[in-house]
Symmetry: C2
Subunit: 445 residues, 2 copies
């Protein structure tokens, strides 16, 4: 079996995953209003207890609802330490340790990709990483955009897949490119391809080498959104899913997902060595980036960012990595794959669980066909009835607090569950429970 | 004298503000490299101690270097609690408490502005708030920009002042508008004015009522960057500086600055009640924002954001506000003004301190004229010599670790110091020390 991490030996938490209250009731329970006077200490403690009680326990081993889960205790200490030291990443002057540390962590992540040089930045989430990539791609193709705006450029287009994260669309809107120029329209200038390593719903990996060939031929910026899938690079056994990643121009990788660094921890990584990140984003504010400082001002990295103040997101990842080593991180990834395999095998032994496709990653997408619908596939009204199963089961599990898992429709495919297995505290017992519980919650449907 | 906050009675920390090491030396001292194996517990503790030791003590009462300072212990607890609960703000499902809490806090901030309805979002820093404002302004004027991009629009221009924060420029570049369209060029379509309440260097306040008149006349989006100055709204005595703020379309206000909520805590506030924030930014991802949920999906606020995952930034502010009450926050603002006044009065009693202008806020901008330059103003080489004073004094104070304060040039004005007084732990002794220390560090210049 997969390597047992220390946290495996902790007993699973008997508390519920959530204690559901509808918004009106929760508002009444919480006493959220802010008044003129200070509250006494005992009251503040009670408020904190209430906040914790009614919050979803995302670190619970039966929380399968998002692409983040679990809690690494070293990363958590790193967050407490960052919070207490309360500084910004923009200059060496106020963040000496963190400027150096960010560079070490980014260098390490680049090395895992297969780059021995380059650039990068921690930014507030994977969507902002997509925006960085799009802006750099545009700037490399047409540096005059920074001063003259898009009006001076031919109409631009970018290519991506149907399964890309919605941040590609958001970015195109935000950067003034427009939704209709995501995907190809005739007569416009293509400047970028955004591929996905680990799509949000299916956990699918685009064929990077083939896409790289096209990008190379047409000189397109090759961005890889590996926010979710990037962690497979840590695994010798599974990194083949991202063969060709070293040919990308930029990579987004969120260690707050599978690596459990804690929200937010999003690395945007660049192959570029021509200082593009700074050239594209700098505003040269003299009050912050004085040119006559007594130290080497190349350590004032803040002007690479689209932000001004930027919180410290490297320390939690760094401390966790120190505590586990690359091998410990690799084991975590391999374990997640192994447990996904286990769950899939168990699913196939049971009636009613129908996979949409064989998982490449740790996402398992499946319909649960309740007793009354079995054997009726193809009959009139089947899809309509099936589409109602996941929402009902989800409502029941949340109200019971037993577990949480996501569902969604996708194109012509009606509502199906997306199970993700990442938390290293998950045991086989939790996975067996997951299957039992789905069956139990849908037994009358 | 100003009201004494409880933290005033704490003795000032005798530790240095910083322990300066140049980058090469610090890299050697820190053992930052990440390896294959895990490090033992004792080693990890030592690494944490080193991180803390060589980090700048931004909560030290003699740290005057940035527009953030100090540490509110309730806000810090709020941060620890947010970290531990590790969730994202995007749906009620995974962030029930924080979705409601964010709305309460934003409503409170809007009420302070003078709005009894509206919208808003916590976002990663003031620069991103500027981008939100610009994107909304553009969208309100030309909703087709979201689908068709900037090519379908007339050339746009926006107005701002020389003293605006550099994020206005960064935003114009990032959104595809271009630097040359910040400020007016003939023949283009103006869509927005960005005014500043509390400019970064001088702490200056634009006349909001007059600007609002112009915006109203020409139907321009009126954004107020109050990232730094917004906190004066909490003070009955000083809020006149922002008379007219209720006429703005949007306001950026960073409680991580003067209110000491901790980095990052940035509110972007909107007067709009037509759901513009969502209309402008939504991508309608079905995997996250399912339409057939069992609860009121208007509580899934995530599609208003340009981010996907969004960390919880409201809890620290909320808990601090509960602990101090609006009156406690007001006292903090009034105290900062009073101490600024004290420092300015003391400065005027001493030879060598030359104010650039009378402060409106808690920024004091001044040259220190060292003994050898006194009485030489107007002589050849004076400005050149004066420009070197601040960098030398800064280097000396950092290497000594006695205090930290910022300096910068500004247009034709050579390097001057910008002192900011915000930390409620600052005592008159600290301010006297500040003046003594400048004199002492520059005594041979």
């Amino acid at each position: 079996g997969p390597h047992q991490l220390p946290c495996d030996i902790l007993p699973n938490d008997p508390t519920p995953v959530c204690e559901w209250k509808d918004p009106e009731m929760l508002r009444d329970l919480l006493d959220l209003e802010l008044g003129d006077s200070s509250e006494p200490h005992e009251k503040l403690l009670q408020l904190c207890r209430d906040v914790a009680r009614f919050s979803v326990k995302t670190n619970h081993p039966r929380f399968f609802n998002q692409l983040f889960a679990g809690l690494d205790h070293h990363a958590l200490v790193g967050r407490f330490l960052s919070d207490s030291l309360n500084t910004s990443q923009y200059t060496y002057e106020v963040g000496p340790v963190f400027v150096l540390m960010e560079e070490v962590v980014l260098t390490k992540l680049r090395a895992v990709i297969g780059w021995n040089s380059g650039d990068g930045i921690f930014c507030p989430g994977g969507s902002i990483s997509t925006m960085y990539a799009m802006n750099l791609a545009r700037y490399r193709a047409f540096p005059e955009v920074k001063v003259r705006g898009l009006w001076s450029l031919p109409r631009l287009a970018l290519f991506t897949s149907q399964e890309c994260h919605y941040s590609v669309k958001k970015s195109a809107c935000f950067l003034g490119i427009g939704l209709e120029n995501v995907q190809l329209v005739d007569g416009i200038f293509p400047f970028m391809v955004s591929a996905t390593s680990g799509s949000t719903v299916f956990g699918a990996f685009d064929p990077l080498d083939e896409i790289a060939d096209v990008c190379q031929k047409y000189q397109l910026w090759f961005h890889v959104d590996a926010a979710w899938g990037g962690s497979v690079l840590l695994s010798k056994k599974h990194r083949h899913l991202m063969t060709g990643i070293d040919r990308a121009d930029s990579v987004a990788w969120n260690p707050h997902k599978m690596m459990m660094a804690g929200l937010q921890c999003s690395a945007f990584l660049l192959k570029d060595t021509s200082n593009l990140l700074k050239l594209c984003h700098s505003a040269n504010a003299t009050y912050l980036f004085q040119q006559d400082k007594f130290y080497d001002i190349s350590y004032d990295t803040g002007d690479k960012s689209i932000q001004c103040g930027r919180k410290v997101d490297c320390l939690k990842l760094w401390l966790m990595w120190k505590a586990r080593g690359t091998r410990g991180m690799e084991e975590r990834v391999d374990r997640a794959f192994a447990y996904t395999r286990y769950l899939m095998d168990e699913m196939k032994k049971r009636e009613g669980f129908q996979l949409l496709l064989e998982p490449q990653f740790v996402n398992i997408c499946f319909w649960y066909i309740p007793p009354s619908l079995r054997g009726q596939q193809g009959q009139e009204g089947y899809e309509e009835k099936l589409s109602k199963v996941a929402p009902i089961v989800k409502e029941r599990m949340i109200k019971k607090g037993s577990m949480m898992v996501s569902y969604q429709p996708r194109g012509s495919q009606v509502n199906f569950f997306r199970m993700v297995v990442i938390n290293p505290q998950i045991t086989r017992e939790d996975l067996d429970f997951f299957l039992d519980e789905i069956e139990s919650l849908a037994s009358d449907l």
